[in-house]
């Protein structure tokens, strides 16, 4: 179980709902992933402030918790406004806060992110900030009132996988008690297993599942990888050595070097 703002969540896989071939495939993917939290983009789907009726109803009917996001927002004020709309629409104070700062990499604008996080936390929101792996920004977000951090491991949708293991390790080491969820850049189940082995609490996926040849089957593959990575972290991994170590003790050899 993972505790997010006081809610106990069983699955360590969070799933985005964009870009699936159809809502039917999305629904199958949610089922087979075992996820208990799905993210929904509000901004692109609202077309003038009104909800994308049938699609949102379908999301609500999945029976999982909805984590609305502010994807597509490029300023703090835009993100705050979108968060407030999401609260009305989905009747939740959870918000995944995204403020995009760079067009090409979709890197978060960490300055606007911290500003928006302060406003939203003060307003009673439970903020899940999409951030970089920068420790100082992470500290600022925690000061602002965030109780969960969602660092990227590579640019959104890139499927590159963890590009800076050292930074991810440092983040885990510096914030041992803060739930850390890798939010972006995962492409394969092995990437997800890798960050879980580093002690991350959960993984958020979208493109890696939605863009797969068989999204529902890929969702299940990811769920298994995340379980495996988590299990490995709990079991305690061997650190690499420079010297071969025989798994069977060698007796009767005189050489010791």
């Amino acid at each position: 179980m993972i505790s997010l703002y006081g809610s106990e969540i069983g699955s360590r896989l969070l799933l985005g709902t964009a870009r699936y071939p159809s809502p039917a495939v999305l629904e199958q993917s949610v089922r087979r992933s075992g996820t208990e939290i799905v993210t929904v983009s509000l901004r692109r789907e609202t077309a003038g402030g009104k909800a994308g009726g049938a699609f949102f109803e379908m999301i609500k009917s999945l029976g999982v918790r909805v984590l609305p996001n502010t994807a597509g927002c490029h300023s703090a004020s835009e993100a705050v406004l979108t968060a407030r709309m999401a609260r009305e629409l989905f009747d939740t104070d959870w918000i995944k806060l995204e403020v995009i700062g760079h067009h090409d990499t979709l890197q978060p604008d960490v300055f606007a992110l911290v500003e928006a996080a302060r406003i939203l936390c003060a307003d009673g929101f439970k903020v899940f900030p999409y951030t970089t792996d920068d420790l100082v920004v992470a500290e600022r977000l925690l000061e602002a009132g965030c109780q969960v951090l969602m660092p990227w491991c590579a640019p959104i949708g890139s499927a590159i996988g963890p590009v800076n293991i050292m930074a991810l390790k440092a983040m885990r080491a510096h914030f041992p008690d803060v739930p850390l969820i890798v939010d972006a850049g995962i492409g394969r189940p092995s990437h997800a297993a890798m960050v879980m082995e580093l002690g991350y609490d959960a993984v958020l996926l979208n493109t890696a599942v939605a863009g797969a040849g068989d999204p529902a089957a890929m969702a299940e593959a990811f769920a298994k990888a995340i379980d495996a990575g988590r299990g490995a972290w709990l079991a305690g991994l061997l650190e690499p050595r420079d010297l071969a170590v025989p798994s069977t003790p060698v007796i009767g050899k005189a050489v010791f070097s």
Partner: protein, 328 residues
Amino acid sequence: MRILVKGAGVAGLAVAHELASSGFAVEVADVAPSIEAGASWLAGGMLAPWCERESADERVLTAGRTATGWWDAALPGEVIRNGTLVVAPPRDTGELARFAARTSGHEWLDEDGIAALEPALAGRFRKGLFFRDEAHLDPRRALNALQRSLQAKGVRFRFGTDQAGSDSDRVVDCIGAAGIGRIKGLRGVRGEMLYLETAELALSRPVRLLHPRHSIYVVPRVGGRFMVGATMIESEVGGDPSARSIMELLNAAYTLHPAFGEARVIEVGAGIRPAFPDNFPRVLRAGNVLHVNGLYRHGFLLAPAMAQEVARMVAASDVKQSMTGVMP
């Protein structure tokens, strides 16, 4: 048997064509003032089941591969069999490999191959995919031509009402997005498009530009016009296109060829595509009414197969009735 077809979009007209060709007395009624009002008027008109297979399921390819022949037979001379060209900007060529892995019926082109097909794009793209067996048509010309051909067959059209002028034994309901909220599972997927006009470049076939975020297509029309489409937004909200969507479409067109930067924007539009949860259309029976709906982004591609299905169902029930003598 007299049949009323409700809805004068591509589904309604294709159904009317199949039924009239089978010898039924057909009437078409649409609450809109003309055939220009519906989503079909804003369509791309690509008969591209192999490309669509990238995100659509196998049924779209199976049901869609007969569409080109159907349109050619129904409207001789309207179908242009020049295939589809798929390209990507140099930094996104990974998207081409991904697209190729998800589809069949294509061949890889190099720079020279692209230039041979589309001289206007010479030197602009290193690699491309050519879907030789695909085709396209101009939806507006096709809808008008189909209406004229139906009228010549004695099919009557009534606009501004969905009621028949005379008694009908059967209704085939093809009202598209107007059925959202009335037909279980039907939802809307908003699409925005625009028309550009320029004499500076010419294309012979639809060109799809792949991009990780905004994939668009440009379909050439006669008279230096180009249809640029289309966004896919989960929403039933109609109304004018958003500035962001138009920017994305224009940016993509400009990336395809800078001459589009000097083109005139002669039209922007938005429509609601009706879709079922699996994005595949259905023929549903409800008492005396057959519903054809959920054609999603495959109106011109899948309307023929749906219309043939309706004609089979109507003919079967007609035979059954005359054998048992039971009237509906």
